[in-house]
């Protein structure tokens, strides 16, 4: 075999190996979704609807996310365990009752328009047991919004003093252990569909406009609501 032929074969093989590696990486990235977590469906005798229990944390920690331990994140409760996922399955044409534990402190809304509770049953939510229809946007740590369904819920954070006192640095965070805000609200689902949801507080620390990192990665500050 000539030197030229060997070179051609070598270059071809190298290009093929690099190409396959890139393809595998892209395929892995494109198919890496958090596991979907189903809401708990209530019996009709209990009023029907479905329950969804979620929490937001200021730092997800190494146990849950070794690659990005300092990112903010949502977690969802499934069968008594906190699961690192932002893909939730809820029933169609139902009322979904959401209980949310907020462990993070305020970042503030970029657009104060989202300080009003919108699209929930009654246009309200409860904040630590008190019914409200709006919050101070500067106190929002995160928000839970499903734009296609018109649902926008601001999530006030714990105070800085509380955060300094007992900041939950390692998710999952248990409400009994750390200061938190408890927020409840309900929203109606319509027809079956695949709806995206996101946080509207620029909470991606250290990224452009606070909207990078966890704000642009499925499994942290955005995800899908699968209405089935």
């Amino acid at each position: 075999m000539s030197v030229m032929a060997k070179k051609v074969i070598g270059v071809t093989l190298a290009v093929a190996v690099v190409g396959v590696a890139i393809a595998l990486y892209v395929a892995d990235w494109a198919t890496s979704f958090p596991p979907p977590v189903s809401s708990t469906v209530n019996p009709v005798s209990a009023g029907g609807g479905a329950n969804l229990t979620i929490e937001t944390v200021g730092a997800v920690g190494r146990k849950v996310s070794p690659a990005n331990p300092d990112w903010v994140s949502y977690l969802v409760k499934s069968h008594g365990r906190w699961v690192h996922s932002t893909i939730y399955t809820v029933p169609a044409n139902s009322v979904v009752h959401v209980t949310l534990y907020e462990f993070d402190s305020a970042s503030g809304l970029r657009n104060q328009f989202f300080s009003q509770v919108q699209g929930t049953v009654g246009g309200t939510m409860t904040l630590d047991g008190k019914t409200v229809n709006a919050v101070n946007g500067e106190e929002a740590a995160h928000s839970f919004a499903i734009p296609e369904l018109g649902v926008f819920v601001p999530l006030p954070g714990v105070s800085e003093a509380e955060e300094e006192k007992d900041f939950c640095e390692e998710a999952p965070c248990e409400p009994g252990q750390y200061h938190h805000r408890t927020i409840t609200f309900s929203f109606r689902t319509g027809k079956k569909g695949h709806y995206r949801w996101q946080c509207f507080v620029p909470c991606g620390a250290g990224f452009l406009n606070g909207n990078g990192g966890p704000m642009q990665t499925l499994g942290y500050m955005d995800g899908f609501i699968d209405v089935v």
Binding site: A106, Q116, A134, P147, F152, Q198, P202, G210, M215
Partner: protein, 288 residues
């Protein structure tokens, strides 16, 4: 390509007049093809007739297609003609005669293409300014502004949703865009974070949304219909989902709707900063 008056050495004297023959074919094809393109393809070009601007854009697209058709025919027919008449015979291995310059062809080519390009530039510029930007973003100080009353609507882009603020209705902000029919609208487009682009295709409106800048676009909806607003600038993970519904309704329906929004969104309106052409949100602690 040769003609009878300039038969290249080596070619048979009975060679036909290719110039005349090709020009005849091209003229006939263009005369038949251009109206067909205008009639059959024209209706598919550009936005619908949802606004004066959209209708104007549709006309411009049709004119461009009509002008481009003969040019397209010229190129395609020239290739086809050459393949048929100047094909090298099988087994022959001779190169064609060298052609070194043709002042007449070059002059005609330069003059005709210049006239087409300059003509379209003049036509485009005239149309753009005669129709107040024709639905495009014209910056904070448009060269021409439509006379008469205008409904100002601020388009606020953020990752990843458009919201709309109506300064003449108490500065209420909404997630849906609703407009009255036959009313001149002045869009003031801005962004709270990265660059987005406000694109209401059916209305023929497209304007970049830049942070810290106001980009004005005018539109006059002429048909009651639903439309879609999309972001036309890649802006992050949910760029593809940055879609809003919009609606053009009667003046009465618009009044009813906007007053409902004012009442429903009073808490949000109260929290909003005073109306401004641009907003520079306070840097958040986390983003610093």
């Amino acid at each position: 390509m040769s003609s009878e008056s300039s038969v290249a050495p080596g070619l048979a004297p009975e060679e036909p007049n290719h110039w005349r023959r090709f020009l005849s074919i091209w003229v006939i094809a263009s005369v038949i093809g251009t109206p067909l393109i205008v009639l059959l393809v024209g209706p598919l070009l550009g936005p619908s007739t949802g606004s004066e601007e959209a209708g104007g854009q549709h006309t411009i697209m049709t004119v461009l297609a009509a002008v481009a058709t003969p040019v397209f025919m010229l190129v395609v027919l020239f290739i086809a003609y050459s393949l048929v008449y100047f094909r090298q015979e099988k087994g022959a291995a001779l190169e064609g005669p060298a052609i070194r310059g043709n002042a007449r062809v070059q002059a005609v080519w330069i003059v005709v293409t210049s006239l087409i390009v300059l003509g379209l530039a003049v036509y485009g510029t005239y149309e753009l300014e005669d129709h107040y930007g024709h639905g495009s973003g014209s910056g904070p100080n448009p060269l021409t502004v439509p006379s008469g009353p205008k409904l100002p609507v601020q388009v606020i882009a953020q990752q990843w949703l458009f919201t709309y603020r109506y300064p003449t209705y108490g500065g209420v902000e909404t997630t849906h865009l609703e407009l009255p029919v036959d009313q001149e609208v002045e869009f003031n487009v801005t962004s709270l974070d990265v660059i987005h682009s406000f694109w209401a295709y059916k209305l023929g409106v497209k304007a970049d949304a830049n942070p810290g800048a106001n980009n004005i676009a005018f539109v006059k909806p002429t048909k009651e219909e639903s439309f879609e607003v999309r972001c036309a600038e890649l802006c992050g993970i949910w760029h593809g989902a940055m879609v809003n519904p919009g609606k053009v309704v009667s003046a009465t329906a618009f009044n009813t709707w906007i007053h409902e929004q004012q009442a429903r969104l009073a808490p949000a309106t109260k929290a909003l900063p005073s109306y401004s052409k641009t907003y520079i949100p306070e840097p958040t602690r986390r983003a610093e």
